[in-house]
Every structure is written in C-alpha cells, then in structure tokens.
Symmetry: C2
Subunit: 760 residues, 2 copies
C-alpha cells in the first residue's frame, strides 16, 4: 500500500487570486467544441448559459475565484500524480476505497475546470480515467468484501458506487462534447448503463427502498439517464422498479427494513416519505446532510432538463424548506445537533451543505439569510448556483441567518411526533427536545430525550453514534458493535429508562411503528418558552410526560431550564433518569461513596457499558450538582425523594477496543414506583479563566425547587431564588386548550389563569 | 452573601476609542496638585515625566487608548457599586477574599486613572477606600481561617496580604500629592507600617525565605517603603530580617522548608538563588509567571528611585533574561508548559506577563521581538513602560518572537541540571525534557521526564497540578490532597518509576538536595536534534540515562521523536515507563484483555489513583499504539521484550471528590531486571476532519525500531521506515567529547564517526 507523504488538509483554502491562463500547448488537435453552441451539453448542473455568465463575471467575485483556484490546485496536483484505478479490495478508509472516492470527486472537478478554463488537459484527464474504468468495469465481479447487504463493484457497498455515478454523471456531462460519438457509445454501453443497472435492477434491495441509500441510487441512475438522454433510466430513478419481489421481512446491515410498507420506491417516494411538511428528515440532521446532496443535485438536473416536473415545488417546496431546517438544526458553530446516528463535528461547512445552500439560494427565492451562511462557508459551487451566491455576496445582499426557537414535525404527513428547539435570545442557549418517530434504521430509542448546547459547546450531551467514519482501523470505518449495544440504547440518552430495558425493548420492528405526541408548545413569550410531549408507546402501560421550559428571569445571569418528567404506570417500576453532563464535577450538596473497584451497572441494554463511579442519597430538600466546562459553571438542582439513589456513572465498561468515550453522567434512580414526578433546573452561570484565574458567579442562583402538586390533572413546581423571589409554574396535564379557564387552590392560595399553564 | 448578577469576563476588551473627558463637577475643591510639579510623586511605577509623555501621546496609540478605556470602564463600574471592605472571613474563591482582591486591583487602576485623566473622583475613591481599610486594620486580628503556615489579616495567608500591599503601594503613590500631610501620616501610621511589619517582622517564616511567597513579601514591604521614603523598610525588603530565629526543620503548607540553607533572605537573595544564569526560575514557568510581577514591579520602583542599585543589571541582567526564558517556555498558543505544580491554560496573556513584557522591553534594550508578544497580548501597562511598547507597536517596530530549541540550566550557579526544549522548524512540535533540580516545594518527582506538544495541543501530557485555583468549592481553591498523592508522584509523569516508589522515595528533604545531569545536547543540525541526561540520585544504586532525539526525515510527514531510556542497576528491579497520551485510542498491534471490573493498580505513591483498564503483551517485533487527538493521528512504536507487560491505565481511582481528570496512559512494565533499555518512537501523522470525513495518512511510517546494541559503552538503535529506508542512531554513553573518534562493529558492519553520536 502506498502512503501519502504529505498531509493535505481539504479545509485549507488557497487565498491566491485566480488568473485565467490561455493554453497554448494543446496535446491533441480536437475541435474546440466550447466555442460552437452546437449541443445541449453541459446541461445537467453546469449549463451552457451558466458557463457563459460565469466567464463574464470571473475575476469579479472573490469567493468564486478563490474556490476556482483551490479546485484548480487540487486537480492539477492529482493530474501530476497520474491516473490510478486500482482493483477494488478495501473497506472505507482503505487504499482502493479512498482512491476511487478521490477519483470521482476529482473527475467532477476536472469536468468543471474544462468548462470554465477551456483547457483540454482537464477533459483529457476525465476521458482517460473514464476509459480506464470502462476497461476494468466490463469484467468486474462484485466487491470482494462481503459485509454489505448490497455489495457494490468499485466499493464494498452499492451506496458508494452510487456516490461515484452521481459525481461522474456531472463529469461526463462536462466533457460530453469533447468526446467523439464512438467514445460516448463505448462508455455508455460498457460502463454507464451496466453500472446503472447493477445498482438498480441487480440490487433492488438497495435501489427500491425509502432510505438515504436508495436516494443516492435513484439520483445516480437518474443523473446518468439525464446526461445520456435515456428516458427509461430517468423514469426508473423517479418511480423505482416495479415488481421488485423483495422480502417484506428482510433487513439491511443497520437493522432497517428493506421493503417499504406501501411498496412505493424511487426518487419521488424518497422525497415524499422521509421529509415532514416542515422539511425535517426523519433520520435526523446528520443523515439529512448526507442525503441532501443527491436530493438537491438530482433535483437541479431535473429542473434544468425536465422543468415541467417542477421538482423544487414538490410537496410545498419541501426540498428548499429542508435546507432551512437543516441550518436551524446547528449550534452556534454551525455543527449539527447529534440526534440518532450522528458523528459529532459535522457542520454546515461540509461540502453537502455548500451544495444545499447554493441550490436553495438559486432555486428557492434568493433568501439573503442564506448568503451569510455561504459567507461563513467561504466557498461556493463552481456552477450557476454558486454564481448567484457569489454575486449576492459581492453585492452585499447577505443578512444574518436568524436562528430562532423552531418546531419541526416528523413523518411524511407531519403527524408522527417531532422535534423542538428552544433558543434563548442572545446567549445561544439551545435546548433540543425530541419526541419524534423512530427515524428509520439510524434512529435511537430515546423518546422524550433532550440535549443542551451553549454557544457551540455541549452542556448535556447526546452521545451520538458509535462509529469513526472512514477511519479504517476502527472497524473499517463502519458502525461499531457499540453503536447497537450502547449508542442506540435508551440509557445512553437523557431520558427515562424503565426497568433497565430500552424503549420498545430496543426492537426496531416495534419502534418504527410508533411515535410520541406533542402536548404543548409555546415559544412566543420572552420570559418563558416551553415544549411538552407525551409518550405512551415506548413502555406499554406506562406514560411518560416530559415538559421542558426555558425561563428568562432578571435575577438570573442567563436563561435556565426547568425539566419536569412525569410518569404514570399501572405497575411498580424502576425509573432511571440520567444527565450526561460534560466537564469536571465541581461540587455536590449530598454525600456519596465511591466504590473500591468499578463494575458495570448491568449486563445488557447499554447498562453493561456504564461503570458505577459513585453512589449517594439525596440531600434533604434539594439535590445540587455543579460542574465546570469550557470556562462556564453549570448547576443541576433537583427535587428528589429521600429514597432515590444518585449514581455517578462513566461510559467505558465492556469496551474491549476502547471505542467509547469515557464521559460521565449523574443518574437518578427511583425504585418500586408507579406514578411519580422528577423536577430539575439546569443553570449556566459565571465563568472561570485559567489565565486571569478569576472564578466568577460559581454558585447556583436557585435556593429551592419544590413540587407543589402532582395530581391527575395538574402539576405545579415552585422555584425560589437566592434573593427569596418565588416563581410558580403550573400546568394542566390533560387539557392544552389556550382558552380554558383554570382555578386551583394550593396550600390555601388560589391560582386563576387561562390557557394550559400558569407562570408567575 | 451577595451574588454577582452579571458575568464579567475580564478577557473581553472594549474596542471603543478612548476620548478624554474634562471633569467639570469636582466634588470637593482641592488644589489640583497635578498641575504643579511640587513633588516627586508619582515616582514608583508611573513617574511625573512618564505621565507628561503619555498625555502628549494619548489618542495616538490605539493599543494604549483601548486599554485605558477598558480600565476606565472597569473602575467606573466599581465606583458605581460603592466601596466595600468586608470583615475578612473566607478562603480563596469566597466572597471576602475575592472582594479584597478586587479592591487592590481597582485601587491601583484608579490611581493610574487619576494621574492620566486628572479626574479627582478616582483619587477620592482610593482615599476613601484606604481610610476604610485604615479604620478596620487598626484592630484587625489574624484571619479566622487557620490553614496557612503564615496567616494574613485581610486574607487567609500573608501571601495575599502582600499582593494587596504591592498593588496598594502603587495606588498610594498615585494619589500621594492629592492627600493632605495629615491624611498621609494617618495612613502610614495606622495602616501601611503595621501592615508591612505584620507580613515581615511578625511573620519571618513567611518573609525571610527564598521562595515566591517571600518575593511578594519583600516587594510589598520595599514598595511601600519607597513610597514612604522609609529606608529601613526598603533595606528590610532588600536584605531580609537579621536573626530571624527560624527553625531549620520547619515546613510550609506545601511541604517546603522555611529556612534557607545559607540563611540568606530578602529580595536580592530571592533574585540570586532561584534564578539560574539563563533566567530559569527553579519552581518552573507557572510560578515564575506568578513571581515575575513582584520581581519586576519592585525592580522598576528601585530603578526609578534607587537607580544606583542597577537592579536590572543584577546577576548579568537575569531579570530581563528571565522574561525571554518564560516566553520560550510557552507553546504555540502562548500557554506555559505545565512543569511542576502548574495550572494548565496559564499563558503569556496573563496580567503578569503583560507587566513582564512591557518592563523587559522598556528596561531591557527594547527588543523588537517583545513587541510581537505585546501585540498578541493586546494590552499594555498604563505607565512609562506601556508607553514605550505602545509607541513601538505604533511605529511598526515589532518582529516575530522566534521560539527555538533552548537550553536552560537550573540552580543559582547553573549547575543543578536543567531543562531543554527541542523544537522542530515549522511544525511547532515542542519536546520539553526535564533533568532539573527539585524546584523547591512546588517541584515534582519527575527526573528525566518529558512532555510533547504540537501546535498548542498536548500530545503526551504532563498532568500539571491537582488544584483548581480560586474555585472555592474545590478545597477553597487551594492545593488538593491529590496534588501530593497523585500529581507530584513519579508515576504521574512520563518517566521511569522503579519498584513502584517515587524518585527520592517522594521525600522532599532528599530530592531538594539533588539534581540530574546533562550528558549531551545538540540542537544545531536540521536533521537531528538531541538531548541526553543521566540521573544517579533518584534511586540510589540505579542509573537512568535518557536520550531524546527529534529527527527530521523527508520520508516522514513531520519530525518524529526517538526516546531511549537506559537503566543500570545493581539489583533486580521493576521498571514502569508510562506515556500519558491524549486522545482516543485508535489501534494497537498487540492483544490485550480488559478486566471485568476496574481496580486500582496499587495502594500508594500515586498507583492508588490509576485504574488498570487493559493488560497485554508485546507483539513479536514492535509494539504499536495509535491514537487520534484534535484531528491528528499519533503512533508510539516500541522495541520491547516479550516478557514485558503493557498496561492501559486511567487516572481516577480513589478520587472521592472527582478532583482528577480521567486521562489515559499506556504503561510499559519490565520486571526482575537489572540493566536494560527501552526504545520508542513517537510520530505525529495525517489528520481527520469530522466535516470532510477524510482520514489522511492514518498509519505510522515506521516499520521497525530495533535495539542493535546495548553495551557498557554504546547504544545503537535502528529505525526502518515503510519504504525500507534504514537509519542507525549510535551513541557513546560514557564519552560526550565532540572530538573523540569511534570505531564500532555491529553485525559485521563497521561504523566510524567522530563525536558522541552517529546518525545516518
């Protein structure tokens, strides 16, 4: 295996200004077809019209020129290295995988450079590489690695083969007119059509699903079909394969069902089903980001070549909406909230989001807020959409992207639960609350879970996925077994686990049929925002009702969170509620013991991965836990029962390959209980600088949180601050009507209000 | 206890431009003494001449104006809050401690503002606060908290009282002429003189030492003496108290001896002893930073008022040298290498280093490299030295501070071992190797230890201190017991522990008498830099000889480290050599088992704080361990014996208050051995971006490291890379002469060279 000697950081952008150089040394004398408008190519993503406009504006748009120079440097370096199309052998992260992956990225870029720079060396490079693939593909068997439910040929799974074709379709379109008719015929007959057939007809279990895998497959087949002007391929892409004869009980490698319930397939079905009317993609933002590229780039091709389909207006413009949704599901640093299977750190700086933002801007009404994201991304697509964005930025049209509290429904009809993000004004305090559907095979068993993020830093974390994407040494860069045994389990999340068993018993077949339900959402007031949802399906016979409130109070340095988890059951249960706080424990107000040796907390359902690091009992009154993270102090104050157990846990037990992070939690355990309530506040306060060594406002501002009432109809929580100011939060729990009048007497005091809740 | 409602981040700088406002509303009609040059005040730090020059240049120096505005905002906010001098009660982090601390900072600043802005409200504020102190101090008993070996009155230790007086002396000097003679008489009689006497004559165990505590005490007494024109106080500060009758065996809270061996005391002794001729301060950079403020600010006062003392030329200009040393002991982010007791994150952005850089620039020959540090600091002192720096920056005189490989001796005569930093060219790869003396009471038992830092990130960490400075909840912000039981112990460091006992048996009395010795140092070549040192004192009868080499080789992406630890003993020993790597384990090439439950590795000497997380055996040939940290891959490749044990450890056992970080190490254990050699390489390679999800150059470039020879006279190591290139490193171990000729035959191959080592 040859090694890279130099580390090339793809994030480093060259700041040189681009200068067009004329090419005097044409290696072969072919007619320069670019000068004659004798054809419709390029027409898929780049268009002839777009190329002309770009050339007219070049040198006039710094962000475009910078990106063009970056791409030119990258492609020139690859051309200098020579073409290499090794016989496929490796999993992701391995040499042949990474080489073929680089090849398709570079072919697309070289095609674009050929169009924009009119330098034939780029067209020749693409042509020569395509013919090496043509030569190899003719006799290529399925990939030697057998782990996938749908093996590719160039890669270990059809998914990556589809990636290849999505990119190569664009390259082919760019050099279409450079090639002779015979060359095109040869490539289409020996490479593109068999390639498209292999990932569709020969692998319907991959192609004919509602899943991000199939979206890639559909886009791949459709895009090469558009370039080849092959209506049959385009229709196959749009509507799927009829009579696929798939087994209704078959599953993929991630445990997801192959066959869609209603039998629909194809690109339009993939557009229809996983997106809610709000543009939320049921797998979560990490996979939405991954799927957005084929969705948008194929849609762009369809818009250019089949404009009558009006693809961008489909389902009330869901594709454009989905880009805004995705941007709203990022923290202050632009990183996606890691819901379901998600690798942390993925952000709107990714290439997929550059595509998404540029296409959404160009085809979605030129929203000036998208330009500020493009400015932060620092790059644009080298096509018609990137031109629009670059001109928009150049002309100073950008406006700040304004992230607010948002409501997102889940399910194709918006009726399968959802997601809420509560955001406070200036502090960029984001509370993400999840009461969605399962999220297909990448979903986690975490009904009514939440995460809390402050200014781009995790305060209460969602673990994310158990996977090191593309790092070969870690299980070939694929999902690790700890993703199933730990990351997907309920106990890995900030929600209740009943009787040490995950929601739906961790069974995908059950979980994928159900969802939680919103009870109440109000994000209109300055002093209080809340979301409340119920779940009756995760544990049959047990209802979970969680209400999360963000309160802004002038006595407090920052907004704080009130978290109320109400449980109702017809049986005695053990309720475990963990908070995965990030940072160093600073203080508690209760006694606890640390064990002499660390043992796993259980044997299954994720408990086998938790060490018990400390065990204590609640302090009379309130339990307080403070920690320090990235220079900020946090305090969790909880109204607990004296018989509760307080468990300090740490992830890492039964982890033979050190795949898990050694992160902490405090876990509240209440045993032998039917109906009960947990109530806590989470404050962010003060700060610490290791440079000044000043510690400011290191203590909680809450002196007491008290459960005043917990009946069949109401819950009432009192919060007293250290200045002896009192706030009462009361909520009707079976009547969310805005107009209902309530009168309630608690401790001889009468409360009257209209609407579902009271807060004063 | 009153709480701060707003979080004030002292690092946030106001960017408003400063505008001088004339003060029309004088509260009292006093003569404006600033206009009449009838006195020598201010004369200590600010001078009358300096004030005039600053006023002439104001508005002309952005960095100065910005700082002036920042300070004005801060002082104005404090004036608005009103004066508060509470009865002392708390440890650090507590309210009364923090209040008195803020008071002295603000008084000094208010004094400066009075001089520069000619607004009497600042003088009045200082005067009124001083009289509140005068009123309280007269009858104030020692501080109620009794933990310190030298209790203060305003604070729990004389150290903090001395801080107060160092700052307040400057404030007093600034408003000296504003006060009436009666007012000055009253303050000097009832406050300043008793204050100075209390921290000196009444606490000789604090004042009469060679220690950073005493440096503060000396400066405090000397500076108030200079302002009061009291020769007796100044002499007490410079030369200490005669006949202090201190007990030679007494110790302070940190276990350090009170009484200096030769009985010397006072500022000049403190300047003489702990600094080596190279300007290295024996306690290490964290405490050097802390001590620099009183050293430099008192020196500045002496230079202004006792210029004949030529304090800045003392000991071959050691004070100025020490500033350069301190700056060289920072990583790429300006953070100090955390040697001995040190809190991580402390950097050249601290207020002490702003002082140090400005004073060193003004009094030390106006080195333009210091200006680039001042520019990064973004602030200057509001005095004559800050004026020089601000003008230097404004006039574009700054040059980049060039950090190179450096050699620093330890001990007042430079003969007590030392420290070396090997730096590679562009990569900011810093290897810090320590073979110093004990470092007084803040020293650690870590002979021949090292740390490795890349571009501001820790690769192989030194744990630093077990303390959360000024965070009251963590043991009053003071040293935690884990500092002694863990952080100071040998096993907490990247060096050899013999028979599970710390160097010198962890006995300060012994350790403080000894030091290691340099064997060889060569930082002149591009391809190889090395440092080699021996220790015969940490374990009587056992010699440790460590050689650390940084090799730059074009086959490697970056420079890599060769680490050779040679041990010679007259008895069979167990040798433990840990590497505290930072980040997530990626891969090993050997088998290991993880235990079902985690137990402490031992019962004492730090071993009680380590969990054993995995136990394995070396792979035939070489042992490889790879990890990922902050987007970079690292590999440790080691030539070990098949009978060695490989222990994965994690810090955190027997840590009932969660005071320790849960960091990992790989520990090589070799049992029942007299003479032996450990040889390893450490490579940094490739990278990973969670945004692009590209993993580049994820594997080591070394295919083999082999011990060719280990005799009484030579060691020879062979390194083979994956391209089959071979490099041999041979070193004579008892003859470091540059001129000696060597001929050696290994495996029938003859090596000839001149000098202590061969590398080819």
């Amino acid at each position: 295996m040859k090694k890279f000697k130099r580390f090339t950081n793809p994030a480093i952008l060259c700041t040189l200004l681009f200068v067009i150089t004329s090419c005097d040394n044409k290696e072969e004398s072919r007619p320069n077809t670019l000068e004659i408008n004798n054809s419709t190519h390029p027409s898929l993503i780049l268009t002839q019209d777009g190329v002309a406009k770009i050339k007219a504006e070049l040198g006039n748009m710094p962000i475009f020129s910078k990106e063009l120079q970056t791409v030119k440097n990258e492609v020139d370096a690859e051309i200098a290295l020579g073409i290499n199309t090794p016989v496929p052998n490796d999993y992701s992260g391995g040499y042949t995988h990474e080489r073929h992956k680089t090849n398709f990225f570079i072919m697309r870029k070289a095609g674009v450079l050929y169009q924009l720079l009119e330098d034939e060396k780029y067209a020749k490079y693409v042509r020569d590489m395509l013919f090496q693939y043509e030569d190899m593909y003719k006799n290529l068997p399925p990939h030697p690695q057998t782990r996938s439910y749908a093996r590719g040929k160039l890669f270990w799974q059809c998914l990556n083969d589809s990636n290849w074709l999505v990119y190569v379709s664009q390259a082919y379109d760019c050099i279409y007119n450079y090639l002779s008719a015979e060359e095109r015929e040869k490539l289409e007959t020996n490479l593109f059509r068999p390639f498209a057939d292999y990932i569709s007809i020969e692998n319907p279990q991959f192609f004919n699903r509602v899943h991000n895998h199939s979206t890639w497959g559909n886009a791949a087949v459709g895009m090469i079909g558009l370039v080849m002007d092959d209506e049959e391929l385009v229709n196959r892409a749009l509507y799927g394969i009829k009579n696929d004869k798939l087994d209704a009980s078959a599953k993929d490698n991630d445990g997801g069902f192959i066959k869609n319930e209603d039998g629909k397939a194809g690109f339009l079905a993939n557009l229809e089903e996983p997106f809610s009317p709000d543009g939320y993609y049921t797998e979560g933002p990490y996979y939405q980001r991954y799927a957005m590229y084929p969705f948008l780039v194929f849609a762009e091709g369809l818009q250019n070549l089949k404009p009558d389909l009006k693809i961008f207006e489909h389902k009330d413009s869901v594709l454009i909406k989905s880009v805004h949704t995705l941007l709203n599901l990022t923290d202050a640093d632009g990183e996606f909230f890691p819901l379901n299977d998600a690798q942390k750190g993925m952000s709107f700086h990714s290439r997929e989001l550059v595509t998404a933002v540029d296409i959404a801007y160009h085809y979605g009404g030129r929203d000036p807020e998208l330009l500020s994201i493009a400015r932060k991304q620092g790059k644009v697509l080298l096509d018609d959409t990137g031109l629009s964005v670059a001109l928009g930025i150049k002309n100073g049209k950008d406006e700040e992207f304004n992230k607010k509290s948002i409501k997102l429904t889940d399910g194709s009809n918006g009726k399968k639960g959802g997601l809420r993000v509560l955001r406070s004004g200036n502090q960029d305090f984001s509370l993400v609350f999840k009461y969605s559907a399962q999220g297909l095979s990448h979903g986690h068993y975490d009904k009514l879970s939440f995460l809390l993020n402050e200014d781009g830093d995790e305060v209460i974390q969602d673990y994310g996925m158990g996977r090191f994407v593309n790092i070969e040494q870690k299980g070939g860069g694929n999902y690790l077994k700890e993703n199933t045994t730990w990351a997907k389990q309920t106990i890995a999340h900030n929600t209740v686990t009943v009787n040490e068993s995950s929601h739906f018993n961790g069974k995908y077949e059950i979980g994928s049929k159900h969802h939680s339900n919103l009870y109440l959402f109000d994000a209109n007031k300055k002093s209080i925002q809340l979301v409340s949802a119920k779940d009756t399906v995760a544990y049959p016979g047990t209802e979970m009702h969680r209400t999360m409130v963000v309160i802004t109070d002038e006595n407090f340095e920052k907004p704080y969170v009130l978290d109320i988890m109400r449980l109702t059951s017809n049986e005695n249960n053990q309720y475990d509620l963990p908070y995965y706080f990030m940072g160093q424990l600073i203080d508690t107000n209760f006694e606890y013991n640390v064990p002499k040796s660390l043992k796993a907390l259980g044997t299954k359902n994720g408990y086998q991965h938790l060490y018990l690091e400390g065990l204590g009992s609640p302090f009379e009154g309130n339990t307080k836990i403070s920690w320090l993270n990235k220079g900020r102090f946090y305090t969790l104050t909880s109204a607990l029962k004296k018989t509760d157990e307080l468990l300090f846990t740490r992830i890492g037990a039964n982890d033979p390959d050190f795949n898990l992070r050694r992160d902490a939690s405090i876990l509240f355990r209440r045993k032998n209980t039917k109906n009960t309530l947990f109530a806590s506040t989470i404050e962010s306060h003060g700060g610490y600088s290791p440079v000044s060594e000043f510690a400011v406002n290191t203590k909680s501002t809450i002196s007491e949180i008290k459960i005043l009432l917990d009946t069949e109809d109401y819950i009432a929580i009192r919060i007293v601050d250290v200045y002896d100011n009192t706030k009462d939060f009361i909520m009707a729990i079976n009547n969310a009507s805005e107009n209902e009048k309530h009168i309630l007497i608690i401790d001889n005091r009468e409360y009257q209000w209209t609407g579902a809740y009271y807060f004063k």
